[in-house]
């Protein structure tokens, strides 16, 4: 296992490097640039643009800019945000806490709800409750998250509620933690959880249902039942454990969604996550922020995959990487 892990990590380094070259090239291909956007303000003269271009080394050839950036990364410096005149790492760090919190909470809630529902709908395939759950699942898959967000906000408003958007009521945002603040957060949190989690819940529920149905029709399940095992044992020990394997690989892909998947929902719901920050940076061509976030996303994807593979080996004794 140790050798395997080491090999994976070593392979990851050139992969990340290739991704960085690609991402940098793509950013350069975008029409216009950060400085061209500045001209929008009537007060900015061409002279100012040229001066700032020099300040940020943007007058250098692209490969020089890239090497400069790469040199920074090696020293642990992710560069400066043009937009905020602050180090990129500080800006990401400021938003990391809530991003990770929301993402993990959503993933947790999603799984805790989706797996049992998937099992339930697989076992009661044609029952009315399964049909209803399937409908909710299709609805969740088919409706864009921002629309769900707007519908929920409208519903809260029309029922006289005031917790529309954000994680706290205004007075609690900068207040120290207290029981009241925690309660206030819970009162706000359910909307983002539904909005961000609905899509994932539906996906996993459908997947789990399909996998389980597939496994339940296998010969070894019939054998297990034939030799007189209790249905509980057949289901939980033989069927579910096999049906869940593909979902573990899927979980590995969920890590990078920490950054990118919640952009629109976060904008609509005014959540303090990295999503809107990435969106602003892309719009404004704040290239070092975009680089840092996309690289982080790539790194998370690799880490997620590795974790999933390790987890798979742990869950399924048949899988060995030696």
């Amino acid at each position: 296992m140790g050798v395997y892990l080491l090999r994976r990590v070593l392979v990851a380094i050139p992969t990340l490097w290739l991704i960085s070259v690609l991402v940098f090239a793509v950013i350069q291909l975008q029409p216009g640039g950060f400085l061209e956007n500045l001209l929008e303000d009537p007060r900015v003269s061409r002279e100012t643009i040229e001066n700032i271009r020099r300040q940020y080394l943007l007058d250098q050839p692209v490969w020089v800019q890239y090497l400069h950036w790469l040199g920074g990364i090696v020293r642990g410096d992710f560069g400066y945000s043009f937009l905020n005149s602050r180090p990129v790492s500080e800006l990401i760090w400021e938003r990391m806490g809530w991003t990770v919190f929301l993402a993990f909470l959503t993933i947790l809630v999603t799984w805790v709800i989706a797996i049992p529902l998937g099992i339930y709908t697989a076992l009661n395939r044609y029952g009315p409750s399964s049909t209803a759950l399937n409908f909710v699942g299709y609805f969740g898959l088919a409706t864009p998250d921002f629309l769900v967000a707007l519908l929920l906000i409208y519903w809260v408003l029309s029922t006289g509620g005031t917790n529309v958007g954000g994680l706290f009521s205004p007075q609690y945002i900068d207040a120290p933690w207290s029981w009241a603040k925690f309660q206030d957060m819970l009162a706000h949190l359910w909307i983002p959880l539904i909005v961000i989690g609905l899509d994932g819940t539906a996906t996993i529920m459908r997947q789990m249902r399909a996998n389980l149905l597939d496994v339940l029709s296998q010969d070894y399940i019939r054998t297990a039942r034939a030799k007189g095992l209790a249905e509980r044992v057949v289901l939980w020990k033989h069927a579910v454990r096999n049906a869940i394997n593909p979902l573990i690989s899927l979980a590995g892909l969920q890590l990078p969604t920490l950054i990118s998947s919640t952009i629109i929902a976060s904008i609509v719901l005014s959540l303090p996550t990295i999503g809107p920050f990435l969106y602003d940076s892309l719009l404004n061509k704040d290239q070092y922020v975009v680089m840092a976030l996309l690289m982080l996303s790539a790194l998370l994807l690799m880490v997620g995959n590795l974790l999933a593979d390790v987890l798979l080996a742990w869950v399924d004794p048949r899988i060995r990487y030696e």
């Binding site: 007060r43 900015v44 300040q55 937009l83 005149s85 938003r95 529309v164 719901l269 303090p272 996550t273």
Partner: protein, 589 residues
């Protein structure tokens, strides 16, 4: 507090002690008298409470000249003051930090006297040194992103600032400069004692990094009504009353009335309105499109008030044609005044004003807001909407309709061209649809090309369009918008072939139309005149030339609209103006 800082503060304290008798006398004389325009007040307010407002995105920095960011400016305008400002009712200049000013007979020297007794929020006295620092080291520093050097230059020579005494300074220009006072309104005055140490001239890059959003709010001292207290990234900016605030209401009470001012960071405009309706926000920016719905709520008894009034600053949309479009046939057509006149006849302004803006817009001026000092009434040149007359003009150009009803260019190709607009702006999208529909009836095919509002300007100035729906905000003085309307200016995007070559400042006169040369000359002359009436005569001619020659087709001038909670006092409309400031509003009992 470390030792050095303690010593410095003691020294300042001693300095203040020496000056104290003089200041004291003035302070007493001023006590009780209002020092802000009385027309801001409907009634005397009540102290206390929190004003909660939305902010559309995260501010980038607290360093005003280091970023171009309206969200940062929205916050910082509560912390810093200008020398003077436009009065909300009369649209005339009134003093803020400046008490009075005079302009010499030759219009080259402006002497400004500052209000006495003003202190920065940390107690340091405010003096002419702060003004000089702001203008000479920061505002005119072309190495800073948001510098205002362009407005602080006349005929290519920068304005010179001279200190007369602690509360008086002079602005000297080599030529008369008619817009000098307007130019002074753009820069908030920054504290020299806090910022001079970062040497904006010698190290602009380093200076741009100070006062980032993670700076200790205590460092950011201002003279304005509020000071920063805290900032939670992507969520909230909190300001509190500046203990040294110098503003007084008509009864002499210290302003602001509110103890606290909070900005909630909410990006989605629909959610801003939802939060406003939920009572979490005291005010919300709205457009004419949202006005009827909110007005209905108000009439229906909701605790909100929705106001409308005329203003200078809204951006009137216009339709621009690319005079340098690669397709030679279209290029010739777009440069033809008869064609542009035909297009103007096809613009149904009445319907746009009624349907798109819900009646909350008026007929546009040509580069100047209607109803203001510089406005020249060009309405008779706008013409009435008439598809027949448009079709007649197109016929006269030889653009005959084919059997399919489409007009043909001389080469036999169908007359069609792209119309670029911001698809994420509700009014722009609606205007685009109306134009496309009307033009189809006279055999002109408009290919709609929706792009993001944020990329509109880059698309225009980059010349990546055939025709485009754009909007530039109006300003109180035409001089401040010469980059747009003077041919060769960097925002004069429809005729890029007259732009000066790199490194040159002279536009290419040989490429200009005769009327463009006239307009260029008008702006050159008006810039260097001190007599406002003489300037007005010139700018009148410019507006007339624009109305006759249609460099772009102006569409409509939106009216200002505002929505606020019913508990807000001194939030009102009077004489067709919306009146409120964060320091004069208060929470009604």
């Amino acid at each position: 507090m470390n030792r050095r800082r303690f010593l410095r503060q003691t020294a300042l304290g001693l300095g203040a002690g020496v000056l104290a008798p003089g200041l004291w006398a003035r302070g007493l004389a001023q006590g009780g008298a209002a020092n802000v325009p009385a027309n801001l007040f409907q009634e005397i307010g009540r102290r206390g409470g929190t004003l909660t407002l939305p902010l559309g995105s995260t501010p980038q920095s607290w360093n005003y000249f280091a970023v171009i960011d309206n969200f940062a400016y929205t916050v910082l305008n509560n912390v810093f003051d200008r020398l003077m400002q436009l009065d909300q009712v009369s649209f005339e200049l009134v003093g803020v930090l400046a008490e009075s000013w005079s302009i010499s007979r030759d219009a080259r020297t402006t002497t400004v006297k500052l209000r006495s007794g003003i202190k920065w929020s940390d107690g340091t006295p405010f003096t002419a040194d702060d003004v000089l620092f702001t203008f000479t080291e920061v505002a005119s520093n072309t190495n800073l992103r948001a510098n205002q050097a362009a407005t602080l230059t006349v005929a290519g020579v920068p304005l010179r600032f001279e200190k007369v005494d602690d509360l008086t300074f002079r602005v000297i220009s080599s030529k008369p400069y008619g817009a000098v006072l307007q130019a002074l309104t753009f820069s908030p005055i920054l504290p020299r004692h806090k910022l001079a140490q970062f040497k904006p001239r010698e190290d602009p890059g380093g200076f741009s990094r100070v006062w980032a959003t993670n700076t200790d709010p205590k460092e950011i001292v201002g003279t304005g009504p509020f000071i920063l207290q805290s900032y939670v990234p992507d969520q909230k900016v909190t300001l509190v009353r500046n203990p040294n605030s110098w503003r007084r209401d008509p009864q002499g009470n210290q302003l602001p009335y509110f103890d606290k001012l909070e900005y909630l960071i909410i990006r989605d405009p629909n959610v801003q309105i939802a939060q406003f309706r939920a009572g979490n926000l005291d005010q919300v920016p709205i457009t004419g499109a949202q006005f009827p719905e909110l007005k209905r709520l108000e009439v229906g008894g909701a605790k909100i008030r929705v106001l409308s009034g005329s203003t200078i600053y809204t951006s009137p949309p216009h339709w621009g044609f690319n005079f340098d479009v690669p397709n030679p046939e279209l290029r010739e057509l777009f440069r033809n005044l008869t064609f542009r006149k035909a297009m103007q006849f096809a613009v149904n302004r009445k319907r746009i004003i009624e349907d798109v803006y819900n009646g909350l817009a008026v007929l546009p001026g040509h580069g100047v807001a209607p109803g203001t000092f510089w406005y020249y009434d060009t309405r008779s040149y706008l013409g009435e909407f008439s598809l027949e007359r448009a079709a007649g003009l197109l016929d006269s150009l030889g653009l005959r309709r084919g059997s399919d009803g489409q007009r043909r260019l001389p080469s036999g190709r169908v007359l069609e061209f792209a119309f670029t607009y911001a698809s994420d702006s509700a009014p722009f999208a609606a205007i685009a649809a109306i134009l496309q529909n009307d033009l189809r009836q006279i055999g002109v095919k408009l290919n709609l090309q929706g792009i993001q509002q944020g990329t509109l300007l880059a698309t225009a100035t980059g010349g990546n369009f055939e025709s485009i729906l754009m909007a530039y905000g109006d300003q109180p003085d035409p001089q401040l918008r010469k980059d747009i309307w003077q041919p060769g200016g960097q925002l004069n995007y429809w005729h890029r072939s007259v732009w000066p070559d790199r490194g040159s400042s002279e536009p290419k006169f040989d490429q200009m139309f005769p009327w463009e040369k006239n307009i260029w000359e008008i702006f050159r002359q008006a810039e260097q005149l001190g007599d406002q009436n003489e300037r007005k005569r010139l700018y009148d001619r410019w507006q007339l030339l624009s109305a006759q020659n249609l460099p772009v087709i102006m569409i409509a001038k939106p009216t200002a609209v505002a929505a606020g909670h019913a508990r807000l006092g001194n939030f009102f409309a009077r004489d067709n103006r919306i009146i409120f400031t964060n320091f004069s509003m208060f929470e009604k009992a």
